[in-house]
Amino acid sequence: MSNTSCNPVNANPNQETEPRNVIRAFLVLGFFALVSLGTFAADHRFIYFSAYLWFGFIYGMSLQYGRFCMASAIRDLFAVGVPRMAVGIMIAVVLFSLVSAYVTVAGKSTFHPSPIGLYSVIGGFIFGIGMIYTGGCASGSLYKTGEGSIAALLVVLSLSFTQVFLVDAGGWLNHLVPIAWTDSALAKGLPAVITPTDGWYDQFLAGYIWNLSSTTIGEALGFTSVISAAFIGNSLINSIIPAALILVAIYLRWYRKGYLRGKEANYRGFKTELAGYWSMITSSKRTAIAGLILGIAAGLHMWVMQGLQLRLGISNAGELLAGMGYTRGLSIQDTIFDPGYFYITTQEAQGAAWIVQKFGFNVMDSIFFGIDNGVPNPLLNPVLWMSISLVGGAAVMALLNNEFKLKIPSIEVATWAIIGGILMGIGARIGLGCNIGAFFATVTNGDPSGWLFCLGMTVGGFIGVKFFNWWIERKMAKEMAAFDL
């Protein structure tokens, strides 16, 4: 065993990367480089796919480096009183919002706000419980898959297949749908191939979601100038101020007591409190750096995708596929899922749907796949390339830090992964996205619905932590029974 450090504040004592891990890291990097170069050589339009790929790679490296996980942000606050990750998330929110505002002013934004409604809170709530059970949010589970965690892979698979079932399920589930939704869905005049009265999610979308309105704060507050709307409305009011207030609350509730311990004699009032606030923000260098990179990269991602869309003369990757001769799996509108920014869960659902179709099931009679997102071949799904390269980027960072290990979970951990993944899949579909698509990407682009999802996610996380506290208390009581403790 190597005695690496006695530094009590360093969770990752500096270690030289083992030579075989360096080789493995280069092999992973080399694989993705080959894919990019090879596909570009075959058809230059694959550059659109490669853009998603390399941003996904950057996300994966950053997430693993900073242990960035929204589940951790909420869970560690309530479970062990550690605000590190919540702080990192807020840093990323602030930075992404500024870059998004700049991208918007430059006319390069690909963002579309989500409808505002109670569904965000409910979806977030269910998702929040699920991510506590699994130990990672959607992006967290992907990056941990890159670390070799089979439990995390089970989460990804579980949430993927759950979504497919959910968006195409009918039968007895139709009885749970309010009649108003059914009537409203029927009145939409959907294409004949879609069967809106036999699919609760179709009725949820067409009969409820489509009737809601969406906006950004910049629009809602009536800013007439694009610059004011983007920077003051969307960034300052919808992201920076809420993030700063949340950090104040976190400081007062969870950080202040520990910070002030031993400093009573030197207490200088507001000056000391401000120093404490700053200490909290800078307490984890890795998390802060990861937040910085993620925030900037996510904003640049939008810029690049919009630029490529203009360059290639398309508004959706479905047009690109059709132009390249790949028409199988496109939606009725000849589109596929193509958000143009950092997003998770929908592309995983598409991957699972493609597999499910191989077994003879038809999912294209649903709005989610048939009208909106399509089910392209995974090898031709640019957004899925992003998810796969996210795993790859995380693997490279893990290898360089000697942290990659193939870990087979116990039955207990695997059970939590599957159950939690199911809840995350349900929550993501009801909430129209996950911690990334329904929160991170929305609030940073001025969409207030993201805070509703965050609220639900926080409450759900709190409930999840309460359950786990009870579960682990129970188990520890058995382990400690023999000792005088």
């Binding site: 360093n10 479970a79 969870w254 830090n401 942290e403 870990k407 506290n469």
Partner: protein
């Protein structure tokens, strides 16, 4: 692998949470330290890197001292000794 909590000697305990992912390692560590007396040592064995960050922050906040941190060569398994405040 199931969680194991054992007494090593007077004033020293071992908590083995290898194979567990977040939040198990940090929650088990917290529960263990809560029950231990001031000055007692907890030898923690875990292999989930992201739990390490949380445990460090948790110890700092509570004033518990991480006395040593060791990593098994070629593996992700970590052995930490934490002294309860």
């Amino acid at each position: 692998m199931a969680v194991k909590f054992e007494k090593k000697e007077d004033g020293s305990f071992i908590l083995d949470v290898q194979g567990y992912v977040c939040p198990h390692p940090q929650l088990y560590t917290k529960k263990s330290l809560e029950k231990m007396k001031s000055g007692e040592i907890l030898e923690l064995i875990f292999d989930n890197p992201s739990s390490g960050e949380s445990i460090v922050a948790m110890c700092q906040a509570e004033g518990n001292e991480i006395v040593t941190q060791e990593k098994e060569a070629g593996k992700t398994t970590m052995h930490w000794r934490i002294r309860k405040r």
